[in-house]
Assembly symmetry: C2
Homo-oligomer: 780 residues x 2
């Protein structure tokens, strides 16, 4: 064991500090990296760790690789595609079941309430409505808080962080999956302004991860063919496919799903993955299509024109001309401003909720109940402000709608009249979106009703996202944006300004709000096209998305990045910050470095593993000839623990022949699933064994990626991020010093750490160009 | 100067060959890398070189970077987006002009010929038809052969190789652009079965590259703001946007264009690039939409329902059921087999043509003329075999069509009748596709006519692609696939087997053929959707694409990869071949390694640059204290040449202070445009200067990426490819040997080189799983 002092001099005493290119800021290396090793995962604070996409090329792995023949390659290939197929199949079934359940539960609730109102029993109706909402919300919150706190929220930030290499316990477990599905159904059915797309993405990721894990070792449910998937790399690919399938199932948008996974979720992407996620979403599309065929014959209860069916409202051709451009531009600019403001508010509310949630489970539940009651009051109360309108004589459906969850809501009006505000508010989100998107309804809604609806959606969606239940953000943003767009259309859209109808404005408004909040481009464009089923809209949607994203980017980041940051997830961005070019790798190295000898004493290993939390240790050999020290490679904590647990490799002296008679297979070192892992504290090692030696060479990754200490931080980040590393060894410029001077991990690249070490950079001109919201604006 | 012997021992004599982990196959390192440094670019064999996406972090660059303030960042940002906008604008204008010209020239030709046939002057009609085709083909061939041979072919393989890091002179020059546009128009107008999508991609790439280059230094037309784009990295991003814009303009498929660039063209991709290429294609979509609005009023001559307008034939809703699946599956499987066979034949024909083309320009021109005459004969002759059919009473357009390039061709028939074979064959490709895709025309064509058309398309498209003119492959594959699909639909599609109409079968056939030949998934899916404008087709198209690609992948690679391989372009694939895990980096190192000292004699540099063709040289410093040698970094040939040309840095002795008074700016080392570059042979250096010294430190990239010699080749390839490197330094395992043992370049990773060094691996079981076409099949 060697504890190298931070300046790399160590015990070789040959520092050569007047060397050609010694780093400038040596003294600061002794600081400990203080970035947080915990993050808010779902609702609770959990320890996090990094995933490792590098192949640990140790002797055991190499031996396993050499033994693989055609048969193993076929097994791998077969399983890869079978798992993709299963992911698509299961996710589409869950998605369908999810929609079916929501449509039936929420539909039943609205039918019962409407019938009571028809009978004039308004108080009773309100009681039933709010009580059922409260029960459903409470159920969702209780199962989330007590069974799987990791299932709270949309899950997209957590999955995105997972795909970036941040793992947290329980994030993709069976429990989380169960709570996510059931909780999402009850939260959406509870008439909260929350979405189901985010939970579907998380569901898809859970399904994929669980399938790849291949049963449970605890219950003996493992299958040999799945052994190739017991590593972070293959699991990452599966989870990417799963999240694509999630969006595909939520919106019935298979191509949009692939692009969403590509643009928003995945940090690493390659062509082969495109092809596999396309396969998974194709399965989703085909299965959903078949299931809907079954439902069209009316066997699915109230499941009718609900979520899964596209908002197929533009099958006729639409025309638009140059004169429409100014109002569309205005829509885009304002959508961008509103979207970024929405992000700003949402983040503040989330931080405030976090204080409340930290106080204990009771507070979490109380908060959720409060939101539910507030929502019920608004949904039931505000329509009373709306005026009754006479039914149009040429209405395509029964007006007012009686006995089902229709669009021309009667509410308090007399027969032959409908309440336009209730048609929007007292309805499921999906139906509200459909109403807003519909053509030939320019006279159906008052501008004031749409404005009120917009404000209610804004407030409720921002307040509802933070509760401890599986709730998404996609549908709320769409519905808010659609009402905003329709309102703008009503103000500016009439002739002679524009020939576009109000429904089209609603679609464009949804695009602008999505662009301003989520900041995706291609995937949003395709999802919206797949939702509305008209490609002629394409140029307009592209224009609006471009403008709103550009405007919003000037103010803040996209909503998922903001949430990830608020949650403390150490996300590694792809671009390098300008100041990173000014620093060398050595400028950010922190903490003492622990290294092992090639043949190391068991007691030393145990001691080091106990006193540090590092997950990788350089293995250094000493040449007997000239006392020089050579970097042999990098050994992982998990492998060391396995080695100590098995005890097969223990030798009485350090001089024994290495690896003699020790039989380890690659499977022993395979990455565990989501279950508990052995830690060093679980091991019992006798005092006698502590004095023995173990040969680390066969288990050491003999070719870790390395960088020279004088490399700029930006270049090292590119290497680290592009290759998906967990540890990056830093070697000295002058080769006759210690063979390794430090290890870089994800946390060393975090701006908080770097700017903490070098506070002068904080206000330097190398920061990104971004308009700052004035400080006085921070009202919370 | 040091010439290190291949085993890395060099002159330090401290080889340590009994070290812990010395490479296994040392002796083989002395072999020279014999992979070809030339490739077939367009029609001619040219030298190729690699692009360098690594930032050369030398002192000059660092100084320049530090001097950049907010203003420079704004300039860069502004230029980035302005250039994207300009690329979109110019490419859409070219695309529109291209279509306008083709529609008018080909339309005029068909009108004149038809009028002659109406007057009974059949021989004269044939003469005019074939003569105009011949003249147009000859024109296209002549300008290609004499002005810009690099413009021959579709250009997609060349651009794809460029984006992978392979540069060739003239591939993206102004000349190539001109010939590509004009030549493509005349080749397509000449009724050859060739496409314009490929040339549009190349055009887009040329436009992007030329814009990024920012005028010409020769004519003093440079702009300071463009200096940030004078490197391979920013130019690569622009070219990616350009190729996306090309597809967007060719098919009016903006989202498809982005996805095509992402899936097929780009080797490096990141989210920011998605966003920029989306911007470029959005500009294309909006500009095209506006231009078509102008043309709808009839001001564009014969430009009517031609190429740029979508094949908008499915605006009504379509239904399909589970019973349709078997015939669709069959279509997909057969499409995959036919597609891969198509690839196989095309590659053989290309190789054969290559022999002919190599014999001289006259042979090239003769070949093109022959193809043109053959095409004219077939197009004019075969319709005579078709029978005349009575016009349907409910035809939507005039039947037979008189006086314009319509669909119900009269040809030799009497009035009131039309020739269905002529409607397909004696027409532009775009119109033929529209006919095949159309609904409600199940009785318009005989099965035999469609079969004949399919065979003719197959033969002609395979024969036409190899001629020396700018010709694409996309449209021929679509038209071939559509006729194949329609034929299958006629055989199996009728009730009770299937409820799909023949036009829908044609769309699915085109999908299956595209999937079988081009092997893209998401992008083809979106392009087809954007072409046919109906999203309800999505599940079926996805199914067909999945099946045909899977089937075809079992036989051979995608068509562009086959062509790239036939052309000898050293494309670096993303996946690692299994045998690469068995080799270490040291196993493939080849040739002698040349290094420079930190302060080097001018004469030595000149000598080394003259006798080698390497483009990067390690710079090694010698510590005066203990005689050890330290790797300082890597210097590029281009920078050395610039240094020798300027002569500012020359010093009379080696002991002078380094960099004193030498004023170089980063702009001096910026990458030149497509013009001629200085080579070492152009420099005149006096004998006196030869004896002087130059300090290389300020110009050396002090932190090149390095790997240890024992790293597996697969891992090194991942690093090399992911970071887009040109040179990868190999450092020794044992640090007290020479500080660098070799340099890996693109060619060292080529399978030919690796398998040439280690022929035993060739037949090993670690090769990819792929069905082999029996050897007897290779008829050529």
């Amino acid at each position: 064991m060697n504890r190298l002092s931070p300046d790399g001099g160590g015990d070789d005493g040959n520092d050569g500090s007047e060397s050609l290119a010694s780093p400038l800021l040596l003294p600061q290396r002794s600081l400990i990296n203080s970035t947080s090793q915990v993050a808010l995962v779902g609702a609770n604070v959990c320890p996090i760790e990094s995933l490792d996409y590098e192949i640990a090329e140790n002797d055991v792995f190499k031996q396993d690789w050499r033994s693989r023949g055609k048969k193993q390659m076929f097994q791998y290939l077969f399983m890869k595609w079978s798992l993709c197929f299963l992911v698509g199949l299961i996710v589409s079934l869950i998605g369908f079941f999810n929609n079916l359940a929501v449509e039936n539960i929420a539909g039943l609730k609205f039918v019962v309430t409407s019938n009571m109102m028809l009978a004039g029993r308004f108080k009773m109706a309100f009681f039933v409505f709010s009580a059922s909402n409260l029960v459903l919300t409470l159920f969702a919150t209780l199962i989330t808080a007590f069974i799987a706190p990791a299932a709270a929220g949309s899950g997209i930030p957590e999955v995105k962080a997972y795909l970036n290499g941040v793992d947290a316990p329980g994030i993709l477990s069976l429990r989380t999956l169960f709570v996510k599905v059931v909780g999402s159904i009850s939260a959406v059915s509870a008439s909260l302004v929350v979405g189901k797309a985010g939970p579907m993405v998380h569901t898809g990721a859970c399904v994929a991860s669980l399938l790849g894990q291949g049963g449970s070792k605890k219950y003996g449910l493992t299958w040999k063919w799945l052994r190739f998937f017991k590593n972070d790399r293959d699991r990452r690919d599966l989870v990417t496919c799963g999240s694509a399938a999630g969006i595909a199932a939520a919106f019935r948008a298979p191509v949009g799903g692939v692009l969403f996974a590509l643009e928003e979720m995945a940090s690493w992407w390659r062509s082969a993955l495109l092809w596999r996620s396309f396969f998974a979403t194709a399965v989703v599309a085909i299965v959903l299509r078949a299931l809907i065929d079954v439902c069209l014959s009316g066997k699915c209860g109230l499941f009718g024109k609900g979520g899964l069916i596209m908002f197929d409202v533009y099958s006729a051709s639409i025309t638009y001309h140059l004169t429409d451009v100014p109002s569309v531009l205005l829509l885009g600019v304002m959508g961008g401003i509103l979207g970024s403001f929405y992000n700003f508010l949402l983040e503040k509310v989330l931080r405030m909720y976090n204080y409340i949630n930290e106080k204990g489970t009771v507070y979490k539940i109380l908060l959720a109940c409060l939101i539910s009651i507030f929502t019920s009051c608004l949904l039931f109360g505000v329509p009373w402000l709306g005026s009754c309108q006479p039914c149009p004589p040429d209405a395509l459906e029964a007006c007012p709608t009686i006995g089902r969850s229709g669009n021309y809501k009667k509410f308090q009006c007399s027969s032959g009249h409908y309440n336009d505000l209730a048609s929007l508010i007292f309805n499921t989100n999906d139906d509200a979106i459909r109403n807003l998107f519909s053509r030939n309804t320019d006279s159906e809604f008052h501008a004031s009703s749409v404005l009120v609806f917009f404000l209610i959606c804004c407030v409720l969606s921002i307040l509802s996202y933070g509760i401890v239940a599986p709730v998404g953000l996609f549908v709320p943003v769409i519905v808010t944006g659609a009402s905003y767009g329709r309102f703008v259309g009503m103000l500016f859209g009439g002739r002679p300004h524009s020939s576009l109808n109000h429904g089209l404005y609603a679609v464009l408004g949804a695009a602008s709000f999505l662009g301003g909040s989520m900041r995706m481009t291609v995937s949003l464009c395709v999802i919206l096209l797949e939702l509305t089923n008209n490609l002629l809209l394409l140029p307009l949607i592209m224009l609006v998305l471009l403008i709103s994203k550009t405007v919003a980017d000037a103010f803040n980041g996209n909503i998922y990045d903001l949430i990830m940051k608020a949650k403390g997830l150490p996300y590694l961005v792809a671009h390098t910050e300008p100041y990173m070019r000014q620093l060398t790798v050595a400028d950010v190295l922190s903490g003492p470095l622990w290294t092992f000898h090639g043949v190391e004493k068991v007691g030393t290993i145990v001691h080091v593993l106990r006193i540090t939390k590092h997950n990788g240790f350089p293995v250094v050999d000493e040449c007997s000839q000239d006392d020089s020290r050579v970097l042999y490679g990098l050994i992982l904590r998990a492998h060391l623990v396995e080695l100590l647990k098995r005890k097969d490799g223990f030798m009485s002296t350090s001089a024994e022949s290495r690896g003699g008679g020790v039989e380890f297979s690659a499977a022993d070192f395979a990455k565990r699933g989501s279950g508990t892992r052995d830690t060093i504290d679980d091991l019992e090692i006798s005092a006698e064994e502590m004095e023995m030696y173990v040969d680390l060479h066969p288990f050491t990754n003999a070719s870790p990626y390395t960088v020279v200490e004088t490399m700029s931080l930006a270049k090292a980040l590119v290497l680290f991020r592009q290759l998906g590393l967990r540890h990056l060894l830093v070697i000295p410029k002058i080769t006759n010093r210690s063979p390794v001077v430090g290890i870089l991990t994800r946390h060393d690249f975090m701006p908080e750490h770097v700017l903490g070490l070098h506070p002068l950079l904080f206000r330097s001109r190398w920061k990104r160009l971004r308009l700052q919201v004035p400080r006085t604006f921070s009202i919370f």
